[in-house]
């Protein structure tokens, strides 16, 4: 076990913890739906890990964030919905990490426009995938619990999930923009 691997495990774990913590701090968030789906900055740590450690780190920290919401009190109403909402939805945020290499390259060469574009693409990709997962879970849930012949499950799911995902995405994008504007190097360069 080399130093880099241990550091990877710890950093990914601590940043998943940071995502959970940011979701719990009252003045940093704004809950619109009591049953989950709050607007907060919690996605930022996951994106940072994705950009630092690439796809693997991003997926892993997202997965941890999702899974740990269950013992901390998540809502599973239909088993498949629970699986998608917690195990899948947060994991796919890590796909932002596909741009990690390009971002690091651009930061190294000092192309600020290029790295902002890649960061933005990463954040949007991750958020869209997360939205797609919650949307699917919502359809599973509503079609399971609404009366037969009621075909509007996808509208409910779309409205409900977009209501917090769109503002969250905007807030996190803005937050990440300001962060990288200030400190691109200290956020990206993994130690060792």
């Amino acid at each position: 076990m080399n130093h880099k691997k241990t550091l990877f495990l710890i950093e990914v774990a601590i940043f998943a913890g940071l995502a959970l913590a940011l979701d719990m701090i009252p003045f940093l968030q704004f809950k619109i739906w009591a049953q989950g789906g709050s607007i907060s900055l919690a996605m930022i740590p996951i994106f940072i890990v994705s950009f630092r450690w690439g796809l693997k780190g991003g997926l892993l920290s997202g997965f941890l964030w999702g899974i740990l919401q269950i013992p901390l009190g998540g809502y599973v109403l239909v088993p498949l919905q629970g699986f998608i909402d917690y195990a899948v939805a947060f994991t796919v945020l890590g796909f932002a990490g596909v741009f990690a290499g390009k971002i690091k390259q651009a930061v190294k060469e000092g192309h600020s426009k290029a790295y902002f574009t890649y960061i933005l693409m990463g954040v949007v990709l991750g958020s869209m995938l997360r939205f797609a997962a919650h949307f699917t879970a919502g359809i599973v849930f509503f079609s399971e619990s609404l009366p037969d012949g009621w075909h509007n499950a996808w509208i409910y799911s779309l409205v409900y999930n977009a209501s917090y995902m769109v503002p969250s995405m905007i807030i996190c994008t803005a937050g990440i923009y300001f962060l990288f504007n200030k400190q691109p190097r200290s956020l990206l360069n993994a130690a060792a």
Partner: protein, 265 residues
């Protein structure tokens, strides 16, 4: 905020349910969640309700904690109930409101679906109310152990889960400290237009992230200095043990499931 801050919903106690092995609780609750969907008659729901009620009483968790877990779901329960009432047209006409016919089938289905949500929430929140998050991650590690054979990094995953949980209070404290420090310099987090508020958060996030990197680095170093080698041959401070009550609970639960299938219509 203090060091002993409890995250999640755990209510300390020493009831039978608290003392059960977390693996037993997770297994039983998992299958309960699955089998709730098989209930389709009055008596099958009644049986599951009795099981849930007995578990709640045995856990000695004050009812208000359970009610708190239900509050966010109320809206959903009422909404689906009303929808079933309005849309389902089975059975006989029970009564009319403003010339809209309410059918008995609709009432029955509405009650059944609401009951299912209610049972699911009560039983799953019983797990988080009586089990600490750390116990749950320990149990998950044990339960995933067979996956080690296919090279799935069970130990690493469990280690990361415990580290995440362990650091939540620390990180919240840190956030609190930094936000106070920045507020004393005049940063305003709570008011102003959205753009300004997000900008205000940056001087909070930068030190927070940098200190989190530093913590990670220090912890990794400390673990290696103490000879951390990964999962092979590591022992545990808290060993999980299946006791007599666990076996008893499994038997009881199997009886409940058997009863459920007998009472299905």
């Amino acid at each position: 905020m203090n060091n002993m801050m409890i995250i999640g919903q755990y209510v300390p106690g020493n009831s039978i349910i608290h003392r059960l092995d977390p693996r037993t609780k997770i297994t039983v609750i998992f299958f309960f969640v699955v089998f709730v969907f098989f209930a389709n008659s009055f008596w099958s729901y009644a049986l599951l309700t009795v099981f849930a009620a007995v578990s709640v009483i045995a856990s000695r968790v004050p009812v208000r904690y359970i009610a708190k877990g239900l509050t966010p779901i109320w809206f959903l329960i009422v909404f689906t109930f009303l929808l079933h009432l309005i849309v389902t047209k089975e059975g006989q006409v029970a009564f009319e409101i403003f010339s809209w016919k309410i059918y008995t089938g609709g009432i029955a289905q509405g009650i059944a679906i609401s009951m299912r949500f209610f049972l699911l929430i009560v039983v799953t929140s019983l797990l988080t109310l009586t089990t600490t998050p750390i116990e749950i991650t320990d149990a998950i590690e044990e339960m995933l152990a067979p996956l080690k054979k296919v090279k799935f990094p069970v130990h690493e995953l469990a280690l990361m889960m415990s580290i995440s949980l362990r650091f939540i209070p620390t990180l919240m404290q840190e956030t609190d400290k930094i936000s106070k420090a920045q507020a004393s310099r005049g940063v305003d987090f709570r008011t102003g237009p959205l753009k300004e508020r997000i900008k205000a958060v940056v001087p909070l996030l930068v030190p927070l992230f940098v200190s989190a990197f530093k913590r990670a680095e220090e912890l990794a170093m400390a673990m290696e200095a103490r000879g951390y080698q990964g999962g092979e041959g590591r022992s545990k401070l808290r060993e999980l043990r299946i006791g007599k009550i666990d076996v008893l609970i499994y038997i009881l639960f199997i009886c409940v499931v058997a009863g459920l299938f007998l009472l299905r219509s």
